[in-house]
């Protein structure tokens, strides 16, 4: 980074540390914080969408749709996350490549050759000539899908419960005003359910934040990977030899995760206050009393 860092062996003390902390490897470490935040920012809305779909499907009047919703929520919630994370990305990747192989490859060459899963070069996803960042983004994309399926199932159950918690009287009143079932859903049920869903969704968000180290299982290099890699003791094969410093790196990550969860907690507190006002819940009642 700096010109003075050209020969780290001659440096000492603070100058050495400055150069060490700005090495190319550390830059990758700092960037990986961005990866984690980006993944959270994409996964949370997608998972919420999956959850919303799952909850609506579970309440549907159409039986097959209802069965689908129920199966999705109970099956995914019942399988250990780590198994899901190992299975979904590889299965998805092979499914995509299998479909592309059907379109682009010579059908006489088998895709399964003994132990091997082989498609022709044109069907590879991403193509083997694609630059490294395409491969990386594809990995992140598969990770987002895996996270969204798992957390979507939990969110679906939370939202399903919240929808059932909306007082029946409110829905009946809406019907009495002549609203169609669809209008009742859109105007009363969905706006009213959030106050009941929020504690469960907030929990899920916290768990999602803490689940991001699972990224490395999927081959995405996250902060925990880099902390372990940078913190391990280094011999003079490296430019900056040092003993086992993992504890400092892990302490840094600890602070990052605590800041993330602390910030989220404050954010959820504000939303909770907003959603509770005017509700026939204990929190809403307490707000009404405080105001009067």
């Amino acid at each position: 980074m700096f010109a003075s860092c050209a020969d780290p062996k001659t440096l000492e003390g603070l100058a050495w540390l400055m150069c060490y902390l700005t090495s190319g490897k550390h830059m990758l470490f700092y960037l990986s914080f961005g990866t984690v935040i980006l993944l959270l920012a994409i996964t949370a809305p997608v998972a919420l969408l999956f959850g919303f779909g799952g909850a609506l499907a579970s309440r549907s009047r159409i039986a097959p749709l209802r069965w689908f919703g129920k199966t999705y929520t109970s099956m995914v919630r019942g399988v250990p996350d780590i198994i899901f994370f190992l299975f979904v990305p590889i299965a998805l990747d092979q499914a995509f490549e299998w479909l592309r192989a059907k379109a682009y490859c010579d059908p006489s060459v088998p895709i399964r050759q003994g132990n091997d899963f082989v498609v022709c070069p044109a069907a590879k996803l991403p193509l083997s000539t694609a630059p490294e960042w395409v491969h990386q983004s594809y990995g992140v994309f598969l990770a987002v899908i895996a996270f969204a399926i798992v957390f979507g199932a939990f969110a679906a159950n939370v939202l399903y419960g919240a929808m059932n918690a909306v007082p029946k009287a409110q829905l009946e009143t809406a019907e009495a005003y002549g609203m169609s079932p669809r209008q009742v859903n859109r105007r009363i049920l969905i706006p009213q359910m959030w106050t009941y869903a929020l504690p469960g969704l907030a929990n899920l968000w916290m768990i999602l934040i803490k689940a991001t180290p699972l990224l490395f299982v999927l081959g995405v290099e996250d902060i925990v990977y880099w902390a372990r890699e940078l913190g391990g003791s280094k011999t003079s094969a490296y430019a900056y030899p040092h003993p086992d410093w993992r504890i400092y790196y892990f302490l840094g990550i600890l602070v990052f995760y605590l800041l993330m969860t602390w910030g989220s907690e404050r954010f959820f507190d504000r939303i909770r206050a907003r959603l509770s006002s005017g509700q026939a819940t204990m929190a809403g009642e307490a707000m009404r009393k405080a105001a009067s």
Partner: protein, 242 residues
């Protein structure tokens, strides 16, 4: 519309045929001096230098992929990359899943390293990296095997007393031993254990063409002495030679 789609498919097909294929080579990036991520954040080590030279000789375009050691064979088998160069010893168990090129190192000795030279490696706790020939060797002795995901963690386990000794490739342990100011020592009588058939490049069983290309390249590097020079460069003057 249908015509358009057909044309698009045909275009994609021909485009796919016309392009040169890039060989994706996987490594762990955490096993110096074989392969590691240097302070610039780039892959470095014997296998990186060797792999690049082999690709040049075989006339292939290559790129490197970093992959976790644990899932390095499954990802090769499902074609996420085409070769493995990650200090992987050739042995019978692995040959059931994948094929290997000719070894590009002589059979490398393994060694036990501990805090004291008389550490109990028969009845004590011995650390080794998961899915390595060293781990299976420890499991076949009377010692309790303690497995870790990376080689670095096995050495740390000995330093903090979690394990009585670590068993790994001697060339991997040697720099740590030499720079520990006498803290880490070889276990007496067990500093050179012969295991494995040498380190080779892993390829898919169905990929015989690629294997042949790399075998020719390895052969030519053995013949002109450049492979021996590389081994000397990364393992020191006492490195085993072909």
């Amino acid at each position: 519309m249908k015509k358009l789609m057909l044309a698009a498919a045909a275009l994609a097909l021909t485009a796919g045929m016309g392009m040169a294929q890039t060989v994706r080579m996987a490594t762990e990036g955490a096993y110096p001096p074989y392969n590691f991520v240097n302070d610039k954040g780039e892959l470095d080590g014997l296998e990186i230098e060797l792999g690049n030279e082999l690709c040049k000789r075989a006339g292939l375009e290559c790129t490197w992929v970093k992959n976790d050691w644990d899932s390095i064979i499954p990802n090769l088998v499902s074609s996420n990359y085409d070769t493995i160069m990650a200090g992987m010893n050739i042995n019978e168990e692995r040959k059931k899943a994948i094929d290997f090129t000719d070894p590009y190192t002589p059979p490398m000795p393994s060694a036990y390293m501990a805090l004291k030279p008389d550490a109990d490696i028969e009845g004590g706790v011995v650390a080794a990296q998961t899915n390595t020939i060293q781990a299976s060797h420890v499991a076949s002795t009377g010692a309790t095997l303690l497995e870790f995901a990376t080689g670095e963690e096995t050495i740390a386990a000995v330093r903090n007393g979690e394990a009585d000794a670590v068993f790994a490739d001697k060339d991997f342990l040697a720099p740590a031993q030499a720079e520990s100011n006498g803290e880490l020592v070889w276990v007496e009588g067990h500093d050179t254990v012969k295991l494995g058939e040498g380190i080779g490049m892993g390829v898919r069983k169905s990929d015989t063409e690629l294997k042949a290309k790399f075998n020719t390249a390895i052969e030519s590097m053995k013949a002109d002495g450049s492979l021996n020079a590389l081994l000397k460069k990364w393992f020191g003057d006492k490195a085993l030679q072909f």
